[in-house]
């Protein structure tokens, strides 16, 4: 089912949780709703499920306006961060509860619930109570319960955040597999960029209730629309050099260096931020954009990195194995075009 959100807005008293959100989720897609904590992800999800009334705007499921349709008539399945399993019911009873409400005959209920349990691979524990299950197993039960009534839309609110790191990786793939097997349109909320990138067809990045950018993970990384998107994604995070435009060139804030930038959109005197991904910085190449001094070295996994000073600003660079680097050394820096972005200092918009 295709889900279309039009000018969706949610206000709590004075606070705006979601502001004028427009978006279309295509049929059968798995979309990650990504953003820092408190940016309005859950609020958006709850409006889609019908738990929260909409302040302004419309929600369409295919052609139907469901903005005012109560949750039970929307045909959505929702998995909560804490799973929200009924503690007094067994796994089987939990999974078949939505069918029981729909007055599906008992035999068929059990059959469908058992099938669903098999799909999420929890069918060994049908008679257990939730508290006798591990986090990952509870998670599977919650997904089975959301799926058993064959929803047109599956909503998952940070479903992996209560799991330990290893299980999280495993469940990510499970969710991906289950989604592909059922083909249900799925919206997956997370604040973890890596999770969003690994699981989804498409990422919707939000901040402070505003939509920032919608695209696949690679595009989001390679072609961010603004400074926030660029800095939210990437580990180690993107470097930022503050400065202004003079004679069509980037000049560091303290005037100590100048970088040639090939960007026709800049305005003379504009204050800007030069965002450079660490991997876009090449050291000791024939061409030189900037010179820097190595301040401190550190390792991250197998990689060697260093903090270097450019003028009075500090950035992170990868150290290549081809040279010996020591703290205090001066190095030449070349910026690759891919991975270097210019943003307006005031608005954060990409130039």
């Amino acid at each position: 089912m295709r889900v279309k959100i039009e000018n969706l807005t949610k206000r709590f008293d004075d606070a705006v949780a979601v502001d004028n959100f427009n978006m279309t989720f295509e049929d059968g897609e798995l979309v990650a709703l990504l953003g820092p904590s408190g940016c309005g992800k859950s609020t958006t999800l709850n409006m889609l499920s019908g738990i929260l009334p909409v302040t302004e705007g419309h929600i369409y499921f295919d052609e139907d306006d469901v903005t005012k349709v109560p949750p039970q008539n929307r045909g959505v399945g929702l998995v909560f961060q804490n799973y929200a399993l009924y503690p007094h019911m067994t796994v089987l009873e939990n999974i078949s509860f939505p069918l029981e409400i729909k007055k599906v005959p008992k035999e068929e209920r059990i059959k469908r619930a058992t099938e669903m349990a098999r799909l999420v691979q929890i069918d060994k524990y049908l008679d257990r109570k939730p508290k006798a299950l591990s986090g990952g197993q509870q998670q599977r039960v919650a997904i089975a319960r959301a799926l058993v009534k064959q929803p047109r839309l599956l909503l998952l609110d940070e479903p992996l955040s209560n799991l330990d790191a290893r299980l999280r990786l495993e469940m990510r793939e499970e969710i991906r597999r289950i989604q592909q097997e059922t083909g249900v349109t799925t919206i997956f909320v997370t604040h973890d960029q890596e999770e969003a990138m690994s699981i989804s067809d498409k990422i919707v990045l939000m901040k402070d209730g505003h939509l920032q950018q919608v695209s696949d993970a690679q595009t989001l990384y390679d072609d961010p629309h603004n400074e926030f998107v660029a800095s939210f994604l990437g580990n180690p995070p993107i470097n930022k050099l503050y400065g202004y435009i003079k004679d069509g060139k980037f000049v560091l804030e303290d005037g100590s260096a100048t970088v040639n930038i090939d960007n026709p959109n800049v305005k003379e005197g504009q204050t800007v931020v030069l965002g450079i991904r660490p991997e876009a910085i090449q050291l000791n190449q024939p061409q030189v954009d900037l010179t820097a001094v190595i301040k401190q070295r550190y390792t991250m996994g197998k990689e060697e990195l260093a903090f270097v000073n450019v003028g009075n600003q500090t950035i992170r660079v990868y150290l290549s194995n081809d040279y010996e680097f020591a703290v205090g050394d001066s190095v030449n820096i070349k910026l690759r075009k891919k991975g270097s972005f210019l943003f307006d200092r005031e608005t954060g918009a990409r130039i």
Partner: protein, 275 residues
């Protein structure tokens, strides 16, 4: 003996003494109801009745006064009270915990403040009310005034408050109405609290005395405590009959308590459920 052992010894010694003091009147009551008049009146006292199967005291007590009738009245009143109180408590607690309506906090605060009014004061106004309604000397007079309880509503509301909202929303998405959610999810989860409430309420109803004395003057409508009271003054010379009647009066609640004990401990120990 080490110091620790000595202190353990004394701890248990005093606990046992305390338990014996608590249990003794009950033992005396139950044992005496199986004694003959001679056994009961003999000196030094007979601690153990000669025949534990001697039920003649019960037979005679039941002959001397309509205890079967009293018993039945007590059961009817207690069961009705408990059922009505449970229903109003569950619905009230759900309303105050889950529903959003204007003035919710104020109304609940007002109700709570009513708990400060002592029962003895309410007796007067309640008596006038039931007189006007013409309920005096009918069984409903023992039931209707006790069909709600602010205290139990408060206890249950607190428990309901501790059930995560996500369970409610999840049930709503699954298509459950408030009504269905209440009975299928909230009430089963609150079972330990509910059993405690039911038990406390049953004991209070069963033992209710002052109100019964005020509103019931017909012998066949008397409940056990009331009947026992009258029987005591009538049969002053036969304490073993009185104690047999008292045993009949007390025993059902003790049995009920023993059955529900497991739940009560759970209900008190478990403030809420995990999120």
């Amino acid at each position: 003996m080490t110091k620790k052992k000595v202190s353990t010894f004394f701890t248990y010694f005093f606990l046992i003494i305390g338990a014996l003091i608590m249990i003794f009147p009950f033992y005396w009551m139950i044992a005496s109801s199986f004694k003959t008049a001679a056994e009961y009146n003999s000196y030094p006292p007979v601690w153990i009745p000669s025949n534990w199967l001697n039920v003649s005291n019960f037979v005679e007590a039941f002959k001397a006064a309509p205890f079967a009738r009293y018993f039945l009245n007590s059961v009817v009143v207690t069961v009705s009270c408990v059922i009505l109180t449970s229903i109003t408590t569950i619905l009230g607690a759900f309303g105050f915990s889950r529903m959003r309506f204007p003035g919710r906090e104020v109304i609940f605060g007002l109700l709570l403040s009513l708990m400060m009014v002592p029962f003895e004061m309410l007796v007067i106004t309640n008596y006038q009310t039931v007189t006007k309604l013409g309920l005096v000397d009918t069984l409903p007079v023992l039931i209707l005034p006790f069909s709600t309880s602010i205290f139990y509503t408060y206890i249950l509301k607190n428990f309901f408050d501790s059930i995560p909202d996500s369970l409610y929303y999840s049930a709503r998405i699954d298509g459950a109405s408030n009504w269905k959610y209440l009975w299928r999810v909230m009430v089963p989860i609150a079972k330990p609290s509910l059993v405690t409430i039911i038990l406390l309420d049953a004991i209070a109803c069963w033992n209710s005395f002052m109100w019964t004395q005020l509103t019931i003057h017909v012998d066949k409508l008397r409940t056990l405590p009331m009947g026992l009271f009258v029987f005591m003054s009538d049969e002053g010379s036969n304490p073993q009959l009185q104690l047999a009647a008292a045993t009949v009066c007390v025993l059902p609640m003790i049995i009920l308590f023993l059955f529900a004990r497991k739940y009560i401990v759970n209900g008190v120990a478990r403030g809420g459920i995990k999120g």
